[in-house]
């Protein structure tokens, strides 16, 4: 009896999850279809670019510099076990641009942006502002979702690029000042080893992560429950879903890009 009940509970949980995945996929499809059809709200898009992109620079920059610095220390320590301290610059650079830049940048943006989008749109939902938009002949998907998703998809790769550069600089500062590596050699090593695709793959990841972050913020905001508690739940769910999806899609993209 208990076994059957357990299986039933598990089954309904799985079904519930599949339904949620379906709803998110449908939402993503609607967003893309609205992206391609007028009217377009350029002012809202510009504002989103500033709040999502520009104002995320400090967070992403700080994350990157400390990550690059720690990475240099770790690789130096690990490398010295078999006299390979000279790999520090190239591994810092590759680790930063391929993996840590986009992933940590994406996660920080998820924390900052998915939460604020979900809270803003969720509040609009519970205070009937979304209903008001509809009665004023304005499609909330076009007016709220499309500008945010588009802005995040375009801005996060730029943030990742900036983060890459700052992360490499963090590694350089530690490498030269703390570990006594040669400054000129560090720089030429970094430049020589990095390939175009190392950087480009990280930027593509950034675009995907940006899309995910804004989409989750909008999805959970639009489906927020009633009252302050509903908005709180929506915000939490948006950040959790965005973070998990970033990590999962990062694995899939890495498989896709780098496994021959």
């Amino acid at each position: 009896m208990i076994v059957i009940r357990l299986i039933a509970a598990l089954g309904s949980a799985v079904l519930g999850m599949l339904a949620a995945v379906g709803r998110v996929a449908l939402f993503a499809g609607q967003t893309i279809s609205h992206l391609l059809r007028p009217p377009f709200y350029f002012k809202e898009f510009g504002q989103s670019l500033i709040t999502i992109g520009y104002f995320s620079l400090p967070v992403v920059g700080l994350t990157a510099i400390f990550t690059g610095a720690a990475l240099a220390l770790q690789i130096y320590e690990g490398g010295s076990r078999f006299n390979a301290e000279s790999v520090v610059p190239s591994i810092v650079a590759i680790g930063m641009v391929r993996e840590l830049g986009p992933v940590l940048g994406g996660l920080m943006v998820a924390a900052r942006v998915a939460s604020s989008i979900a809270a803003e749109i969720g509040t609009m939902k519970v205070t009937e502002q979304i209903d008001a938009l509809v009665t004023l002949s304005t499609n909330p998907m076009k007016y709220l979702t499309v500008p945010r998703v588009l802005a995040a998809t375009l801005a996060v790769p730029v943030l990742v690029a900036v983060g890459d550069a700052i992360g490499i600089m963090g590694g350089y500062l530690v490498g030269v000042n703390r570990l006594g590596l040669n400054s000129a050699a560090y720089l030429s090593n970094t430049v020589d080893f990095l390939e175009f695709w190392d950087i480009a793959s990280g930027l593509v990841k950034g675009a995907v992560f940006g899309f995910i972050v804004a989409l989750m913020g909008c999805y959970y905001g639009m489906n927020s429950g009633r009252g302050a508690q509903g908005v709180g739940r929506a915000t939490k769910a948006a950040v959790v879903a965005a973070s998990v999806m970033i990590l999962a899609s990062n694995y899939l993209l890495t498989e896709l890009f780098f496994s021959a």
Binding site: P39, M124, E128, Q129, D131, A132, T135, L136, S137, T138
Partner: protein, 248 residues
């Protein structure tokens, strides 16, 4: 003309509307009364398509609202939401002129602003609130901005969800007169939800009472006092004793 026919709506096991039948003739002012939580707002929203009824039909000027072309349909409506529902990222005048700043009714910015200020004046607000944000206004002022937004594009059909709740008696009088004026002057069809009996007498041509998910009574406002319906009697006289339970 707006016709609701056997409209049902439930949220989970909360069966809010249980077969609403109601007709609002063109150019008339219908006032909906009823206890709080009886589904008056849900009924209004179902006409606008913001809430999808579980069963029944809603017809506006011969067209079923579920199949009508949405943009053109909504362009004819104005709605004041119970909580105001102002966009808090926009200033007061941008809220009022929202429709006039984008879409099919787009006007030059200066003209839209001038219209917004004129509408604000009609709801008793001075020009100096135009550039403030909704969060800087009192609840009653927000409500009036919402009212100005509802009438800004001169709609043919206007819904007011508790327009005078939270206003002082003088401002209530101003708003009652304004609603009456809009119906008479603009020939608009209006549906107003209110608990305020002085509002009912000031703005209604017809009155309908929603109770237990159905229209309990509907008729001319003059007949209201002598209709003999115990529910209406209890409600308009504000008695604790009667067929409507105080604990709901």
């Amino acid at each position: 003309m707006i016709t609701l026919h056997q409209v049902h709506k439930a949220f989970g096991d909360n069966h809010v509307l249980r077969g609403v039948d109601l007709t609002i003739p063109k150019g008339e002012s219908m006032v909906i009364i009823g206890g709080s939580g009886t589904g008056k707002s849900v009924m209004l929203k179902s006409v606008l398509g913001l809430v999808a009824p579980d069963a029944g039909q809603i017809i506006v000027d011969g067209q079923d609202v579920t199949t009508v072309e949405r943009d053109a349909f909504l362009a004819r409506f104005g709605m004041l939401f119970q909580g105001g529902a102002l966009f808090d990222s926009l200033t007061v005048w941008q809220n009022v002129a929202f429709r006039l700043l984008r879409g099919s009714l787009k006007k030059p910015t200066e003209e839209a602003r001038a219209i917004a200020i004129e509408k604000l004046r009609r709801v008793g607000l001075k020009e100096n609130v135009a550039d403030r944000f909704p969060a800087e206004l009192s609840g009653g002022m927000q409500k009036r901005v919402g009212l100005a937004r509802a009438i800004a594009a001169e709609p043919e059909i206007i819904f007011f969800d508790e327009p005078t709740t939270g206003l002082d008696p003088i401002m209530s009088g101003v708003i009652n007169d304004l609603i009456r004026e809009i119906v008479v002057e603009m020939g608009a069809t209006a549906m107003t939800i209110t608990h305020d009996m002085s509002s009912v007498r000031a703005i209604a041509d017809d009155v309908a009472m929603l109770h237990d998910g159905v229209i309990q009574w509907t008729g001319d406002v003059e007949q209201m006092d002598s209709c003999g319906d115990p529910y209406v009697e209890q409600f308009i006289n504000g008695r604790a004793e009667g067929p409507i339970e105080a604990v709901r």
